[in-house]
């Protein structure tokens, strides 16, 4: 615990300087975006003019190409407008005073027992309790706020989430929490309040919001769902395999390990040993689409062994 008064004042000054500077940073980013937006708009209008000219001269193929290109530029324009909108300068937020920020640091001690400050990296950090989601223990996390880059167009760049006792998803060392990848949190519903808290210098609110996200599991939007956290079980033998090791049978849609799966020799479709049939003639494995009944005897074999819809035995007799 660091209750050096001078450190508190230094931290408070750093935070306040960053918060006060953010409208200027945002305006610089907006200026760059607007130049790009203008350029893309010019391209779009130029293509529309060319398309119009082509239509008037009955150059239908050229017109069609111009319209397709204009459509592509329109998609770019939509993205750039969205990006510009996200940078919209907000109404002046209630910016924290130095004493507000100092009181926030006091509150951090109450909410998190202690906070740490690294003078060299200018990082302010707190630790959570052990996080357990649906019975899966993920350990405690350190939430590290980088004060030197406190306010960014994308607030996610301002902080890191470090697993202190990692229990990452099987085969995915960077995923230490369903909503944390490579120390970056995807804050989801907390995106706007986190941004608002950082822009106003409400540091304790920021840490509380991040903790609330870490304490919540959203099964619909996780990097790795918790039911696959320790790997997928093979549907046949039950062995655990990593997310990227299994094969999904195209027929029954279940996951199988390498030992319990194979592929169709004709079309290369992956399948389990139950869904893939063995051709009695060549003994290779084939999916149901690549096996057919002999038109003479009705016996099933692969399409490669059939000749004129006859199995080798019936074909030989004929």
């Amino acid at each position: 615990m660091n209750d050096d008064h001078r450190t508190i004042v230094r931290i408070a000054n750093l935070i306040r300087d960053q918060v006060i500077a953010q409208p200027a940073q945002r305006l610089a980013a907006i200026s760059a975006d607007e130049r790009q937006l203008g350029s893309t708009m010019q391209r779009y209008l130029s293509l529309c003019r060319k398309a119009g000219l082509a239509v008037s001269r009955h150059w239908h193929l050229a017109a069609s190409q111009m319209i397709q290109q204009a459509d592509a530029v329109l998609r770019d324009l939509r993205y750039e407008i969205d990006s510009r909108h996200r940078l919209q300068v907000p109404a002046q937020a209630q910016v924290a005073t130095l004493s507000d920020i100092a009181r926030d640091l006091d509150q951090l001690e109450t909410e998190f027992h202690e906070w740490d400050y690294d003078e060299k990296t200018q990082d302010l950090s707190v630790r959570t309790e052990d996080i357990e989601l649906e019975g899966m223990s993920l350990g405690a996390f350190e939430v590290k706020l980088h004060l030197s880059r406190l306010v960014r167009p994308d607030p996610v760049a301002s902080y890191s989430i470090i697993a202190l006792d990692p229990n990452p998803a099987s085969g995915r060392d960077g995923i230490t929490h369903p909503h944390v990848s490579d120390e970056r949190l995807c804050p989801g519903d907390a995106t706007s309040p986190i941004r608002a808290a950082l822009e106003a210098g409400r540091i304790c609110d920021f840490f509380l919001l991040v903790r609330s996200v870490l304490q919540t599991y959203n099964a619909h939007s996780a990097y790795v769902p918790l039911d696959s956290w320790n790997g997928l079980p093979c549907h046949d033998c039950g062995d655990t395999m990593n997310d990227d090791e299994g094969f999904c049978c195209q027929s029954c849609d279940e996951n199988f390990c390498e030992s319990c799966s194979s592929y169709c020799h004709h079309c290369d479709t992956a399948g389990c040993l139950s869904c893939l049939e063995s051709c009695p003639e060549c003994e290779d494995r084939f999916c149901s689409d690549c096996t057919k009944a002999c038109s003479e005897c009705g016996g099933k074999c692969c399409v490669d062994c059939l000749t004129d819809e006859l199995c080798p035995s019936c074909h030989e007799k004929k």
Binding site: D106, S192, P193, A196, L208, S212, V213, N218, S221, A222
Partner: protein
């Protein structure tokens, strides 16, 4: 009377509002967060945990932060 309300739910606004004198924390919450349960929030007055029947004073700072917020994954 005038108090500062910090709603860390939704867009996360912080603003001064006028409220009736002697309003309790519980009543303010029900007005600001209709339909929500207080037990799902960290409610702090002047940065301190308080009882629900605490009466608010002029200039008080009230923050309300959900204890559970859904994260996502960046696609």
């Amino acid at each position: 009377m005038r108090i500062l309300v910090i709603n860390n739910d939704g867009s996360g606004f912080a603003d001064y509002i006028e409220v009736e004198p002697n309003i309790t924390v519980e009543k303010l919450f029900s007005q600001q967060m209709a339909g929500r349960k207080p037990e799902d929030y960290l409610i702090r007055v002047n940065r301190q945990p308080v009882a629900r029947d605490q009466v608010l004073q002029e200039g008080d700072r009230i923050s309300m932060t959900p204890t559970k917020i859904q994260g996502a994954r960046i696609v």
